[in-house]
């Protein structure tokens, strides 16, 4: 086994673990994502203590009850009169995993104290729980939409580049049409024929199709250029001379040449498409409140007051980077893997 394929395995299994943990979001998240704590808006991350005011050390971390400072909207202080140790497998809000209902959470503290690892938003909702639950929609939707856009793009781009002539002209002109049209209006039209309330599962499918359907044109152009060049390479011409079918030549000799572009596009498009959900939400096609998604969480921090006053609202954004980095690393390893195979 080569180093490249070992890497591919490592990254892929890490990603599988990540996606699996997303499935268990309800268990890992200490609170329900839509649970409002109206007396705790914009509370910063709860501090985990090991040492009491008396100086006594505890191995098990604990928190204090957080109460709002009288006369202010977003200032808080700790009530140090009693400590609330962090407990594991604690009972809390009900959730379902793959159809099974449960109410045990990985960790938590005894009420009325709260443990907000990433602080709260303006309704006093736990940002950490929302981040985990939001991943269920956003992560998968982003990957699927990018996959759809790319497969359409590869198919059509390869078609255009490989056959050339009028096929090329037709596909590329259609791509130009797709890049130029004011899609927002069509989205509005689509929205108006849909029922008012769209449940999250259907909203999810809708997101994926819309983004994927509109997004194929750019990758198609990139792929077409590569295919145009690749099909004239000596070994490809040789293979054709030996009577290889179009399909065989495409799959065996032409498409591997485009692996770098395709994988790079994939790594670039996934985060872009997760953000695209924000725009779609604006037109009523995204994930609606109170269901969290990375898109609507990121949209909420794009404000001057949040930027200057509530730094923890950016923790989800910062947490996203490692996830995307994983995807990038996998794409990278795959690229090297195919590069080795084709050379």
């Amino acid at each position: 086994m080569s180093a490249a394929s070992r890497q591919v395995r490592a990254w892929a299994s890490l990603l599988v673990i990540l996606n699996a943990s997303v499935v268990f979001a309800g268990f890992i998240a200490p609170y329900a994502p839509n649970e409002q704590n109206r007396n705790l808006p914009f509370a910063g991350p709860t501090r985990l203590h090991f040492v009491e005011t008396t100086g006594q050390f505890h191995l098990r971390p604990f928190v204090y009850l957080v109460v709002s400072t009288p006369g202010s909207v977003d200032k808080y202080e700790e009530d140090r009169s009693r400590r609330y140790p962090v407990r594991f497998l604690i009972r809390g809000a009900r959730y379902t995993i793959a159809g099974f209902a449960a109410d045990r959470h990985l960790f938590g503290v005894e009420e009325p104290a709260k443990v907000f690892l990433f602080g709260t938003d303006q309704f006093g909702r736990d940002v950490f729980s929302r981040l985990l639950v939001g991943a269920q929609i956003s992560l998968v939707a982003g990957v699927l939409a990018a996959g759809l856009a790319l497969s359409l793009g590869v198919a059509l781009g390869a078609l255009a580049g490989f056959y050339g002539g009028w096929t090329d002209d037709a596909v590329m002109r259609i791509a130009e049409l797709f890049l130029a049209l004011p899609w927002l209006y069509l989205l509005l039209a689509v929205r108006s024929v849909l029922p008012l309330h769209i449940d999250p599962a259907r909203a999810f499918l809708l997101l994926v199709t819309v983004i994927g359907f509109v997004g194929w044109a750019r990758p198609a152009r990139l792929i077409r250029g590569m295919v145009l060049s690749a099909k004239r390479r000596d070994h490809v011409l040789a293979a054709r001379a030996f009577g290889a079918t179009d399909m065989y030549v495409l799959r065996r000799h032409v498409l591997p040449q485009t692996a770098g572009v395709v994988l790079t596009q994939l790594a670039v498009l996934v985060p872009r498409y997760i953000l695209a959900e924000v725009t779609l939400s604006f037109f009523g096609l995204g994930v609606a409140e109170p269901v969290p998604s990375w898109g609507n969480m990121l949209a909420a921090v794009q404000r001057y007051d949040v930027l200057t006053s509530y730094w923890w609202m950016f923790l989800p954004g910062i947490a996203l980077s490692p996830v995307f980095l994983l995807y990038y690393a996998l794409a990278n390893a795959l690229h090297e893997h195919t590069a080795l195979l084709s050379s």
Binding site: F282, G284, E289, Y304, D305
Partner: protein, 591 residues
């Protein structure tokens, strides 16, 4: 006959201004007497400019055809009206009219004009300009935004010139507070616009590309230049008809510079860094960010308290017929019950909306007249505190019941579930809907929040009626019930829960119709207030709108700006623009 005395003139002064004393005023008119209005505001210093941010670019400078609020913000500074509503006192005052009388039947107004006044291009102003202006505003083909207000009892106001300085207005039927109708009706220069009007091209006149020399008005400022996308500059009108107590002609400022700044946040930052001098209609978040600088800040912030805007939740009560929207029609069975609407109202945590959405800068509401409207509010409207228990009682009495898991079902066993639409661009409304959603979840009602783009939403509300409930807001421009006729009359186009009914659907809507029509023609202010109080009571009892909050008016200005007296009425900060002056300008000012 009742004589209305000019309020602002301390002694009714007739100053003959020696024009040499006033910078930029014409020499040839030196002998002419001018009926100047004397402002009682603090005496200021001439000079300087004011930079103002706008959410979008102005579209036109034509006071007749402008309908968008951004153009309106600019135009307001270039025009004057006969009678003006003082934004501070909320009362009608003489402006270009020196005085007016009303006949005892309330149908005839005789207005005496100030003499010797000039338009901003130096041309004299007289009764012919007034008659011309009203002819334009009332012309169907001119598409004036004022036309509907000036049509009374189905007939346009008849305007007649008595002499060079007297104009008579005849109304088809008596109209309470009719003098307020003159507010905002721009008096136009006949010498510049008559040609356009007779040729039917009025809409083409005074666009943004028109040379400044071809425009004139009676406002404190006049058009100077426009740079597409960047700025619009107004300069001081040297012929303006107000002066201060020392005889200096107003306005003090040399220039107003309007800059389009699309985003709220960029506006806040520009104000914070001194690149804009004044901020109106700030969001609560912006206000709080700016307030963090405390006393040391070079600007002053004012929370004026509740304004005239009010937000509300309402249900679709349209007659949907039988076929098209069966699901919504079924749910209307709940929506039409007053007890159901009352229960919803009782379950809503208005205090949380004030605190979480408006950071304390709002006032909870139970009726449609916000406390900012001091003249018309009915203070006896009950303000029941939030009570889930009472809400549950009401629902039980209306034969709703709870399932073991807490969800609410109606008498047929259908789950009580509906969606609230609101416009996506307005984050406050989306947040209010989110709070209501959580409030109603505690009653066992499953609410979906659906955000739609504004114009698509309007189609659903007024055309297709394909919605269940909606969170929206309305504003009352001058605090007077007459501007809200279309909201409360069952035949009105903005009778949002069920617009343009051919006959009132419910007895209480019929009663409101009668009361609103009666107050329109009742001249006695106390009798009129009583009628409107009753309207407020009926609305609060039947809750076609479930009122939420009235956002406070939040404004700010550079500390060096003198005579800055913001008001609850729009335009909050620039209503006395002619009196504003620079005490001193902060050093970091406009680059």
């Amino acid at each position: 006959m009742k004589r209305v005395v000019e309020r602002l003139l301390t002694p009714a002064l007739l100053i003959a201004v020696a024009c040499a004393a006033v910078a930029g005023a014409p020499q040839r008119a030196a002998v002419r007497a001018e009926d100047l209005l004397v402002s009682r505001a603090e005496i200021g210093r001439p000079g300087g400019q004011l930079v103002i941010n706008q959410h979008a670019e102005p579209k036109t400078l034509n006071p007749v055809t402008a309908v968008d609020s951004v153009s309106g913000e600019v135009i307001k500074n270039t025009i004057a009206d006969l009678i003006h509503v003082n934004r501070e006192t909320q009362r009608a005052e003489p402006a270009l009219a020196k005085a007016w009388t009303m006949s005892s039947d309330g149908r005839r107004y005789t207005v005496t004009l100030r003499q010797g006044l000039r338009f901003s291009d130096g041309d004299p102003f007289d009764a012919d300009d007034v008659v011309f202006s009203f002819r334009v505003h009332l012309d169907e083909k001119a598409h004036s935004g004022q036309r509907d207000l000036l049509t009374i009892g189905g007939q346009p106001i008849a305007v007649r010139k008595i002499d060079q300085h007297t104009v008579q207005f005849d109304l088809a039927e008596p109209r309470a507070g009719a003098e307020r109708l003159f507010d905002g009706v721009a008096i136009l220069p006949r010498h510049l616009l008559e040609r356009f009007h007779t040729e039917g091209r009025l809409a083409d006149a005074w666009g943004l590309s028109t040379p400044a020399a071809q425009m004139a008005g009676l406002g404190p400022f006049r058009f100077k230049e426009y740079v597409p996308g960047e700025r619009l500059v107004l300069e001081r009108n040297p012929y303006y008809w107000k002066a201060d107590r020392s005889g200096t002609r107003l306005p003090y400022l040399d220039r107003l510079v309007f800059m389009p700044v699309t985003s709220d946040d960029a506006q806040t930052m520009r104000f914070q860094s001194g690149e804009a001098d004044i901020a109106s209609k700030m969001t609560a978040a912006s206000f709080d960010v700016l307030a963090k600088a405390g006393q040391a800040a070079p600007y002053k912030l004012v929370d004026l308290g509740a304004g005239l805007d009010y937000s509300f939740l309402f249900f679709n009560l349209n007659d949907l017929g039988s076929s098209k929207l069966p699901d919504t029609a079924r749910k209307q069975g709940w929506f039409r019950q007053v007890a159901f609407r009352q229960a919803i109202s009782l379950a809503i945590d208005r205090e949380a909306i004030v605190r979480l959405v408006y950071r304390g800068h709002a006032t909870p509401l139970w009726g449609h007249v916000p406390p900012g409207n001091k003249v018309w509010i009915n203070r006896s409207i009950p303000q029941p505190a939030r009570s889930l228990d009472r809400a549950r009682q009401l629902l039980r009495a209306a034969r709703f019941s709870s399932k073991p898991d807490g969800t609410l079902v109606d008498q047929r066993g259908d789950l009580v579930e509906f969606s609230i639409v609101t416009n996506a661009g307005n984050s406050e409304r989306v947040q209010m809907a989110t709070i209501i959603q959580d409030d109603l979840r505690q009653l066992g009602i499953n609410v979906h929040v659906v955000t739609l783009e504004l114009r698509a939403l309007v189609d659903r509300l007024l055309k297709t009626h394909d919605y269940e409930a909606c969170v929206l807001g309305l504003g009352n421009a001058d605090g007077n019930p007459n501007t809200e006729m279309n909201v409360w009359l069952s035949s009105g186009a903005t009778h949002l829960w069920s617009p343009e009914q051919s006959r009132p659907a419910t007895p209480w809507e019929a009663e409101i119709d009668t009361l609103m029509r009666r107050q329109l023609t009742t001249l006695d202010p106390t009798a009129r207030k009583r009628l409107y109080d009753k309207v407020q009571e009926l609305v609060a009892q039947n809750l076609p709108f479930i009122f939420l909050v009235s956002p406070n008016v939040l404004v700010g200005a550079d500390k060096g700006l003198g005579n800055f007296r913001p008001a609850v009425l729009d335009p909050h900060t620039l209503w006395n623009v002619e009196e504003l002056f620079w005490r001193q300008k902060r050093s970091s000012g406009t680059p």
